[in-house]
Assembly symmetry: C2
Homo-oligomer: 229 residues x 2
DNA sequence: TGCGATTAACTGGTATGGTAGTAGGGTAGG
DNA sequence: CCTACCCTACTACCATACCAGTTAATCGCA
């Protein structure tokens, strides 16, 4: 969820374009920049004290992820959250991660299981009200799964696709829900530990379908953030 | 495989950046631009009679697909084909398309099956020596599958991921192989027609694993195009 | 002749200038 | 009063200029 602390401004050590991209991406996902809001190349550039050029590159990349819409000679706008887009992204993610856990369960690596178990313990320690801490650990967990399967490229795809889902998850405030998600993590890990490929796959699919439960509710209560649906 | 005819130059009707991107992408996949070759922003710009700006945007997008590598202050180079990258891409593609055909087989749509059968017939008509014609139809076939499942976004992901595989496929010249691929298409369609989800999934997975057979041979015979392996 | 330091040419990254095109407000005409 | 037009202000897109950093070749010296 890219919750990782990002400097508020722009640092000089790295190229500017990607920095602007990550900054805007985080602000869109965290709903600081609201759907429908207008973003101007020159305005953003002025605010961040950079030129329009890197801002433009950031806009292009954001538009490829579906977070903004660039209308030539008209303006660039934060997209409203599209239920269809969220479900499409979820579908792709489920497909990939289902095969990932299958792969891990097949070629068991005790080290990976140990690390995953350790992470689940860590997740349980998180205070129930600290949502962003959990989201960070959740991202780490799924990333570790992909890495354990030796599929770090697949993780890149997931990370890009995840953006749409993360926008929704950030709005989801029900804290009690977190324990449920951690339980699901635990089931995935234990299925992997016992080389239960089908079980691991099913557990993962179930886990990633959780968002389908909360989505309609959120889309209803925060209708102004969603694309007509 | 983006074999679709692309104008040799740059037209004025559309924004320039994406045009340059598609042009270079096609030339890399078709091995007109060879792995290791140096691409200069200014040189490409001069050749196409555009400014460096859109060329730069194209380079960025190509680097995200892993087709070029941008080394700041040093140069931009066409990446060598990486066997690992091809297999990673293949893994992601298999995961997504496996779920796609499952979905179609589940919710049978006679129209889709008819269209797919028609396409298979068309594929059989292609002369055995016209490789690019088959590759076009193959791309259409897989695109139609995704569209039939209502997952056009998933197709976008596949299209991006496919680039690495297409570089290899373009080098694969064994014509006889084509009939085998068409047979596999046929099996996929017939499994869908009988609502055989598991069968369709397995047929698709087998189909997408074909490249694993030819990959080692190609990587051996055209070693200069591949990253040390 | 061989080797090291210097420099000139070139790279991508950033900043800025210029252009076609859109949108919206205000005004003139019916 | 309503409508149609124009004009201004803004947009993203493209082109150009400048910069820091890398590379490689050449020149000077041992």
């Amino acid at each position: 969820m890219q919750i990782a602390d990002v400097p508020a401004g722009i640092s000089l050590g790295e190229t500017v374009g990607p920095q602007v991209y990550r900054l805007l991406r985080r602000r869109i996902i965290q709903a600081e920049l609201l759907p429908g809001e207008r973003l101007s190349e020159s305005e953003v550039a002025k605010t961040l004290s950079v030129s329009r050029q890197p801002v433009r590159e950031a806009f292009i990349k954001l538009s490829e992820e579906g977070l903004v819409q660039v209308l030539p000679q008209r303006g660039t706008f934060v997209t409203k959250i599209s239920v269809a887009a969220v479900m499409d992204a979820r579908f792709v993610r489920e497909a990939i991660e289902a095969d990932v856990v299958r792969l891990i369960a097949e070629s068991r690596e005790p080290d990976a299981v140990d690390e995953l178990r350790r992470q689940v313990v860590e997740q349980k320690k998180v205070p129930h009200n600290d949502r962003s801490a959990f989201l960070r650990l959740d991202e780490l967990f799924h990333h570790t799964l992909a890495a354990s399967a030796g599929k770090s490229y697949a993780w890149n795809v997931i990370e890009s696709v995840k953006a749409q889902m993360d926008r929704v998850r950030f709005l989801s405030v029900d804290d009690m829900h977190v324990t449920r998600l951690i339980d699901q993590h635990e089931r995935i890990v234990e299925a992997i530990a016992t080389n239960d490929q089908a079980g691991a796959e099913q557990a993962m699919r179930l886990h990633l379908r959780e968002i389908l439960n909360s989505l309609p509710e959120i889309a209803g209560s925060r209708a102004e953030l969603f694309d007509r649906s």
